[in-house]
């Protein structure tokens, strides 16, 4: 509820949402807003004679005028929206899925596997999408000519010539039918997701709640599904949202420069490019050939950018807690106690050196307010993990240590086999400066943990 109020608190967020809603309505209601003609259905609808080259200004038949060749701008614009959504969402969703999967697996496996996967990710990072697009198109062309077909693009005299005499084999047919730009963008833009998720997972793995889950004997799959992915997903959604707009802009760009892609909005601009600069260098003489399509592309990009920022804003507190946990699990304390606590960590899991993230997610300093009551309630309901996390958060805030120690002592009396509780108690004593007690508690924790491991 509070998140919702904050979401609607700034006009940028509302603007983003409204723009997306407008585009979505256009896409979904295209058939009602601008129905296809019965005679020749298609995105580009002809409203006059084909040889009439001069674009006509807006009139009642064509709401936004016509392109050279008398194609209706409004019709193409409306029907292009759905296509933009399809393309953008396909790229963003698939790349995010691939990136998250790879990043999580690499991060959870750690060590050598992580190193190899991340180096491969870095290698992909050095590949420009434009080269991929051209390469895939040439592959399609090669496989068609090899079986005696004809494949020529942008030929000086004939334009595009594609002729396939015999049926293609399965994979060739797949290649031929698919959009080279889509494949290329999916193949070569999942890396940011992978890097981001990997960094987050490596960091999260060292947080107390994951350690606690591991100490409690949770399976890797459960930990990944229940603890790691939910915490790492917010920044992924932010980047994915921005990527939707970015992919559509890129598609229009590639269409415009004639490399590949069949973006409708881009095609409008390609058709109208000779009329952008009117007589006397006035760019507003034939404004309708490029301004509506330009605005559509720009607003589409802006809308998804704004939406991404909005999601980023409402998911901030979550990252803040993670940052705090991480920072505290690394910060130092008196040597002997520290050694004991390190020993505990070593036995729970060998964390290895924390890879310093190259691309850090935004980690602001907004604390959450955990309370003693919340911790006690969690203990009462036997949610030990949650209680431990809350007590730790309280400890990091130096909040009434003597009370926490009292509580924890009572708790370990009730659950004497919980390693995580003992460990928290050790940390509390450590923070209060009672080092002997802290050492005792830590050794108890190790003992408990060993018992769990042996059974």
């Amino acid at each position: 509820m509070r998140d919702l109020r904050r979401f609607f608190g700034s006009w940028q967020n509302i603007l983003g949402l409204v723009l997306i809603a407008v585009f979505a309505t256009l896409a979904l209601a295209a058939a009602w807003i601008s129905p296809m003609s019965q005679k020749d259905p298609g995105i580009f609808q002809r409203l006059g004679r084909a040889l009439d080259y001069e674009p006509q200004p807006p009139n009642e038949k064509a709401l936004l005028g016509t392109l050279p060749g008398q194609y209706d701008v409004f019709h193409a614009l409306v029907w292009g929206t759905g296509e933009a959504f399809r393309f953008g969402l396909a790229v963003a969703v698939v790349t995010a899925l691939v990136g998250v999967l790879l990043g999580t697996l690499a991060g959870y496996a750690g060590g050598f596997i992580n190193g190899v996967i991340m180096r491969i990710t870095d290698a992909f990072l050095a590949f420009p999408a434009i080269a991929g697009v051209v390469f895939i198109q040439q592959l399609i062309g090669m496989s068609i000519t090899a079986i005696g077909g004809m494949y020529m693009l942008n030929n000086q005299y004939f334009g595009n010539v594609v002729d396939i005499p015999t049926p293609l084999t399965g994979i060739q047919a797949l290649l031929q039918k698919s959009d080279p730009l889509l494949i290329s963008l999916i193949l070569f833009s999942w890396m940011p997701f992978c890097r981001l998720v990997n960094t987050l997972i490596l960091t999260l793995k060292r947080t107390d709640f994951v350690q606690a889950a591991q100490a409690l004997g949770a399976s890797p799959f459960w930990i990944i599904r229940r603890h790691l992915i939910p915490h790492a997903i917010a920044p992924v959604i932010v980047i994915a949202a921005r990527d939707v707009g970015g992919a559509v802009i890129l598609q229009a760009t590639f269409t415009f420069i004639g490399i590949s892609g069949n973006s409708t909005w881009g095609s409008i601009l390609v058709m109208g490019r000779d009329w952008v600069i009117g007589p006397g260098g006035n760019i507003f003489t034939y404004w309708w050939v490029f301004i509506p399509a330009t605005l559509a592309v720009i607003l589409f990009g802006v809308a998804w950018n704004l939406l991404g920022d909005a999601i980023n804003e409402i998911s901030l507190p979550l990252s803040a807690t993670i940052a705090k946990e991480v920072e505290s699990s690394i910060s130092g304390s008196p040597a002997a106690v520290n050694a004991a606590s390190m020993k505990f960590f070593d036995q729970v899991e060998n964390p290895g050196i924390l890879n310093k993230p190259a691309m850090q997610p935004a980690l602001p300093a907004q604390p959450i307010v955990p309370s003693l009551t919340r911790a006690r309630a969690a203990l009462q309901q036997e949610k030990i993990q949650e209680a431990v996390a809350t007590y730790r958060a309280l400890l990091h805030q130096d909040y009434r240590i003597e009370k926490i120690i009292l509580d924890l002592n009572r708790a370990v009396g009730r659950y004497p086999l919980e390693a995580a509780l003992w460990e928290t108690l050790g940390e509390a004593y450590n923070q209060a400066g009672q080092l002997q007690q802290a050492l005792d508690a830590y050794s108890k924790a190790i003992e408990c943990f060993n018992r769990i491991k042996n059974t």
């Binding site: 590949f127 390469f135 310093k356």
Partner: protein, 364 residues
Amino acid sequence: MKGHTQKLMPIFVQFLLRRFLIIPFSLFVITLILYGGVMLTPPEARAELYMPKTARVLTDEQYERLRNLIIKRFHLRDPFYIQYSYWIKSLLQGTWGYSPNLKDEVLPALLRRTPVTLELALYSLILFIPLGIVSGLGAGWKPKQSFDNIFRPLAYISTSMPTFILAMVLLALFYVNLRWFPPERISLTYSFQIHEPTFRNLTGMLTIDSLLNGRFDIFIDSLRHLAMPVFTLSIYHWATLSRVIRATVMGEKTKEYIISARARGLTEQKVLWKHAFRNVLAPALTSVGISAASILSGVFIIEIIFNFKGISEVIVTSLSGPPDAPAALGFAIYSVILILLLMFFLDVLQAILDPRVREEVLKS
């Protein structure tokens, strides 16, 4: 002090080596994937990669025979790893195949066009990195104040403005109306002069060559032609970079060393430039390094729009006519090499500026 530097040097060399080793590894991964793509086509198509220049004048029958010879010679019907190793060998030794559309061998064609692309990329890097750092610092240091209020909408517009639209508008304004900045690389009159034997081509970059030849008029002319592409290219990357820096500065501002620096009574300017600046630099350069591929992609797109005859001419030509895999493949590998070198350069720069980076790399 002396002992300190002595200890530092080997570490730095070690760091350089480690960073440099990434290049062959990345190339290995990329070529593996590219050849994997080529494997989807039949062997007859793969033979195109090895066709010599003279293949165009052969009769159909001779061509067929040559193709079979090539298939046998380069083991094109064998398993992937054998074919791959033969292909790599031919890459290392040869000229990367003959491109029928370019009517040229691929590697020389790429090398000849490289200075044009590099010139464009260098000028925009020189323009947008300092500008991005300064404006990002200024905006992040005092968020939601006068400068930031101008900066944010500007950065927003810049990141969401498609480059080709900006280019179109700029061309209409500065070329058609004002006649200040024309497209292409050089004016027609000078384009004849630079091909004369008296004009020595030393670097291939017109701005530098013209100065070395003492031709100030050509220098001015090439700058006029560079202005619009460089501006269009820089504006997007400027906005992304300064947004990253703005976010980093806002995070850095609450750190203890800033508070302590302020408590010691340093002026705001000193705190910003002596303390915050250095810590912001590393993430900034990392972000440039990560987007190196998109920067070069952007250079190619700008080249195509402004009709600069750079590396991108190879792919544009390769797409106009029959399939031309050697050109596309060569272009892909070549641009990956350029990007890796750019990343390496940025890594080294970052290590020189930020000692933490060096240590981290050696640790991991």
